[in-house]
Symmetry: C2
Subunit: 299 residues, 2 copies
């Protein structure tokens, strides 16, 4: 089955202590779509400007991403530039130019409205609502978010949580949302806001899944070198939703393996700038790291 | 087989935002000894002053800890007082009174010198050397340390690393020791300093084992509430060494399970002040959390 993904489609200019990479393909939806594409057909909902490089449209297409829902609007593509410190956990935004994103209203083509799996990747909660409003009874809806929306759009986000099956956020966002320092205790509070499945991303420390009935401790794939972690979280949820949409059996029984696949794709994402490394990955390479993670965690 | 444990034997006064607990039984050797005692007989090497409460000697004895190597010297017991913030990852030392520890020279009774398993718990590297100098060909030696020794006794520590089989340190210490931000890369550098087995403790994020031949990602037992994390790292290595000393088969084949047992005992340690909770734990409760960790990580 296919996965519908809405989120930001952007150009990222990324500086690290070792390199500078202008105008890479970026945005939450781009990373999630490419990650999901290794497992399932993807329908993309987003917006880019007239300056959006043709080669990036080709990249989407090479990954089998349906672009009927991608609007190409007069104006400039959303552009983010940021800088990482030597410790890759610390980054700062240098500039954000919203461009065509400022007036973005997601419009779902008729062929998208029956998509069973929906990933509301990181984007304003009002736009995530707007996408859901156009859907016909999806089977499984997951929303991602970021600290910005907790700060400026919390009521929208809280409303959204009553409409989704799964909610993904990172550990600092979980603390911010619940005013709870202990992430295990935070998980309980987040369930009360609506979602049946809550996933807390912890970067290099992996992720936690809470199903209300219990926890799953998911490892991160260990890397000797992180080139650029931008988009790793988006790759994680994208890979997870891609796998879920094709796996047989219940969501509950597949979620753990789905998270491991998500971790694997996220690890590839970190090994190159933007999507440079991820786009060259094969399904066989993904399976090899999946097996490796089994070995690394068995006791 | 028995485990010989040398380290600090102290009185800890611990403040948290919610409570204040003066003069608890503490110190790296106390935590490690009690943790190891659930699995194996323990021989303790340490020093306390004449003010050391009799009830703490009884506590050691209840756990079957051999006290022949515990010196009771004229003067005061080592006393540490510290304060935790609401976020339990942040603590500061309020006061350190070395007392009898200032002139401590570990002396091993004859009955200790053949101990096959040796845990050099956190204490000055010169004292760790001093214990090893009195041993006859132990089977497996593990050393723990802390940032203080990296700062003031690095040459001693570097020499020690050539004499031990296993080395345990936390992630920030690994970064400090290797000048390497990435812990996976740091592991490689630490192997080059001598130890065949390197374990990096990551607190609530678990631990990493590197055997040179590969990694093991060990989970932490998830807790809804951390009362006092003091001694959790010592409980981890103590539990690990206790299990290792009694398990059949090679060290290499038992280390993963040993780390899980260590994590479990460390989780109990965090649930009470000082050793209050740990001392009430049963082997059955340990086995139950071990099984639970299997369920929490399976995929």
């Amino acid at each position: 089955m296919s996965v519908l993904i809405v989120g930001s489609t952007a150009l990222d200019s990324i500086k690290t202590p070792k390199a500078e990479n202008p105008r890479l393909l970026g945005g939450s939806a781009s990373h999630a779509a490419v990650a999901a594409s290794f497992f399932a057909p993807v329908k993309l909902v987003g917006i880019v400007g007239e300056d959006f490089p043709k080669k990036y449209l080709s990249l989407y297409r090479r990954h089998g991403v349906d672009l009927e829902g991608l609007q190409i609007a007069p104006g400039k593509t959303f552009h983010w530039s940021g800088e990482y410190e030597l410790n890759m956990n610390n980054r700062r935004t240098l500039e954000t130019e919203l461009g065509v994103f400022e007036t973005f209203t997601p419009r779902l083509p008729a062929s998208y409205q029956n998509s069973p799996f929906v990933l509301l990747a990181n984007i304003a909660p009002s736009l995530q609502h707007h996408v859901l409003n156009q859907m016909r009874r999806p089977k499984f809806v997951v929303a991602d978010t970021m600290d910005l929306w907790l700060n400026i759009a919390l009521p929208d986000l809280i409303k959204l949580l009553k409409r989704v099956d799964g909610f993904v956020l990172n550990d600092s966002e979980a603390r911010q949302l619940t005013q709870e320092d202990n992430v295990i205790a935070a998980l309980k509070k987040i369930h009360k806001l609506g979602p049946k499945y809550v996933i807390i991303k912890k970067g290099e420390h992996g992720a936690l899944l809470s199903t209300g009935r219990g926890l799953f401790i998911s490892p991160a794939y260990p890397l000797h070198r992180v080139v650029d972690p931008t988009g790793a979280g988006d790759s994680f949820v994208g890979g997870m939703m891609g796998y879920l949409s094709t796996a047989r059996g219940s969501i509950e029984s597949n979620l753990r393996r789905a998270m491991i696949y998500g971790s694997v794709v996220a690890s590839f994402c970190c090994e190159g700038f933007g999507l440079k490394f991820t786009t060259r990955v094969t399904r066989a390479a993904i399976e090899a790291r999946f097996k490796k993670l089994e070995q690394l965690t068995k006791f």
